[in-house]
Structure formats: C-alpha cells, structure tokens
Point group: C2
Chain length 239, copies 2
C-alpha cells in the first residue's frame, strides 16, 4: 500500500480520530463503547472500525471484551510510570550516542533552529510549544540513527501524551522549556555526556512525578477543557 492510499482510507481516518478522542479526553480511560456506536459516529460500516480498533488495541490504547464491547485502557499508575522509565532509558541512550557522534551538530541543526532562537522569535502559544516540546524529544531519537529505537520511543511517548495533557501547569513553563532544551542541546554539542544525561533525566522526571497526582476530577476537567478548545477552533458560522 502506498502511504497516500492508507492516509485516505476510512480505517485510517477512524484510527486517527479515535486516537485524538483519547488524547482530547472525549474518550476517557475506562470508557466502554461498541463498534456500532463508533461506526454510526464516523459514518462508516463496522469493517473499517474494526481495523482501526485492532490497531489501537495493538498500540495499547483500547481493549476488547469478548462479545461485550470495547474499552479505553483503564488508567493505571504503574503502567505510566513504567513507560516513563522506558522513555528515560531510551532518551538517555540517544544523547549518549549523540555526544559521541562527530556529526552531531549537523544532526541537531533542525532542533537548534527551533530551540536556540532569540527570545523574540519564540512561540508564546502553549499548544504549539507543547507540540514542539514533544517533537524535540522525538528529534533526539531520530538524530540518533537507530530507527527502531526511535519508533519504540515514539510509541511510548504517544501513550504518555495523556499524562502530559493532564498537566495544566505546563502552560506556565514556556520560557523554562526553551531554556532547558537549549541547554540540553548545548551540552550535547560540547560532548558533556554525563551532565546532559542527568539533566535530561531530571527534565523528564518532572513529568513522571505528576502521574501520582492525577485524580478523576482532573481527568473530567480535561474533558471539558479540551472540548472547549475544540469549539473555539471551529470556524465562525456564515449566515
């Protein structure tokens, strides 16, 4: 299959939409739903819905109950903490390898353009910075020349996305994020291996430490908040 064909087919559309629904808390951890319900909502038959759901199942986002519907993976503290540990391990290895790579400055050029810019060039939109933040971490792995490690890391980080999106204090950390990222990049370029590994670990452990603070209330607040954000993105009605 050419990637163009898959990106336009119904199953792929449903897959992406369901994932987005999970990330935007329109489907909450533990929610139950049926294939038919999704099919009605997505204006399709059950067949591509099932394809999308098998993929989401394999990715760790949903579970099927035999002849009884599907369920978003219930919230599990240990699971997310385990994922954070994997993420830390992979990113630490990536920066170790980058510190020893003669071509590291070339590899990191794209990231440095974004994160080592002058203050007046920085984005002030917290959604955009959140996106760039995530891309920063993907970028460290992608510069590291092990595509499988990068793919596993991406899968881990996507599964952790709901944790990041539940942490509303991130909005106030734009400047700190730019500062930390540019310092990490600087340390890599200067080959300060142990320093940058420790720095990165501390940077990620800030997020990891928020896992245990998550409450049901915060998850329900997030549902409202992201639903409102969605409405605000809608184009004005033309009457």
């Amino acid at each position: 299959m050419t990637s163009a064909a898959r990106t336009t087919n119904i199953a792929e559309r449903i897959y992406q939409q369901l994932k987005l629904d999970i990330f935007d808390f329109q489907l909450l951890p533990g929610d139950r739903f049926s294939e038919s319900e999704i099919a009605r909502r997505m204006s399709a038959s059950r067949t591509p819905v099932r394809e999308a759901l098998y993929r989401l199942e394999r990715d760790g986002y949903v579970q099927v109950h035999f002849r009884s519907g599907w369920q978003v993976r219930p919230f599990d503290f240990q699971y997310f903490e385990d994922l954070y540990d994997v993420r830390i391990l992979l990113e630490a290895e990536a920066v170790r390898r980058l510190c020893e790579d003669k071509d590291r400055e070339g590899r990191l050029a794209g990231l440095m353009t974004i994160w080592c810019c002058r203050p007046e060039q920085r984005s002030h939109d917290s959604s955009e910075v959140a996106f760039l933040d995530e891309e920063f971490h993907f970028g460290l792995l992608e510069c590291g020349q092990n595509q499988e490690m990068a793919a596993i890391h991406r899968s881990v980080c996507e599964r952790l996305r709901i944790i990041r999106r539940l942490d509303f204090t991130q909005k106030g950390r734009i400047e700190a994020t730019y500062k930390e990222h540019s310092e990490i990049l600087d340390d890599i370029c200067h080959g300060r291996r142990d320093k940058v590994v420790n720095h990165l670990k501390k940077h990620i452990e800030i997020s990891k430490n928020t896992v245990r603070e998550i409450t049901l209330h915060r998850i329900q607040e997030a549902r409202k908040r992201y639903a409102e954000d969605k409405n605000m993105d809608m184009p004005p009605k033309v009457t």
Copy 2:
C-alpha cells in the same frame, strides 16, 4: 475479551500460525501472498485472516500493498542491527536494576533452577535449549518489575527470532550457553554490576555479529531444514 476466548478464536489461530510460518521460513522475507490464499490454506474466511494480518503488520512482520496483496517484511540488515541495539540496551538496564534489587535472589530463583543445575540435569536437545535460552533473556526483563520494558523487549526478541534460527552454529553451543547463563546469574546475585553488563553485552553481540553473514542461500537452507523438522515431528500414521 477473556484470554480463553481469544486463544480459541480463528483469528488468533491464524495469527499464531502465520508467525510460526515466518519463524520456520515457510514464509520468507519478501514473499508475497494474498488474503484469499491464506484463507484457503487456513480453512477460514478472509475476515479473521485480515484481523491476523493487521496484527502482524503492527508487530512489524508483514506489509500490505494497496489492492495488490501482502508481503513478509523484506530482509533488512540495518533493521535487525537496530533491534539488537535496543535489545542490548534493555537487557543491560534490567541487569543493572537486578544488581541493585535486595530481592534479586528470590526473583531469579526460577532462572537459576534451569541454568545453574548439575551437568547431568541439563537438556541436550538443541531446540529445547534454544527455547530456554530465549526464555532466559525474557526472564531477566520480567524479573525487573517494569512490565512495559519487558513487553517491548519481548517484541524485539521475537522479531529477532529468525536471526537466531538462521544461526546453525548455535547447536554446538549448549554447554557454553549453560555456562554463560549461570555466570551471568551468579554475577547478578553478587551485585557485580559492571562485569555482568559487559558480559551480557558480549553474549548478545555474538548473535548481532551474525546478521551481516546472512545470505539468501542460508535462508533457503533454513526453509528446507525447518520443513524437515516439521515432518519429523508428525505423529506416526495409524493404519
């Protein structure tokens, strides 16, 4: 779904059989096939075949060509080397953690029963030792208390299985395997962290170094060899 229900359904049967076909080289890297062909071969409709194939696709074993059939993932040296590096990273981390775990002897008790037995209790069946060898490595991760790391490691090792099964020199290494594994376990119990990490890396790199030696001829030899093994496993006909 209860795991009992899934283990008896048609899609699961087909998934496992196709995986086995890949591991036994009955489906070679690069082979093309269609859903209908598999459906005929497995005496089922296309529907559960599709489910099985989506899962195998997601696991990295096959690829779909838009309206043109499916293909076993072609052989790719870099891919397997990347996987080996991920595997080494994960196992090294697991033994580091075990060396610092006060309960490590209890956790490793099962592995020690198998690998630190007296020479007359050892298995001489190379297939069984290959299986136990793989389980040894899974066991290191499963003793490590990070279930996601163990799951990722298992997925990586399964994808590497065909490399291990192409290495026919493994058959002559039964004694060395028992010795190396018991030494690794001993080093862990004594908390010799750096020694065991280096030992484990060397142990795995022996396999990694066989990737670049793989030839098409060897793959085709493997097809014959594993097909013969299959025939020898068949029960005698009752006439």
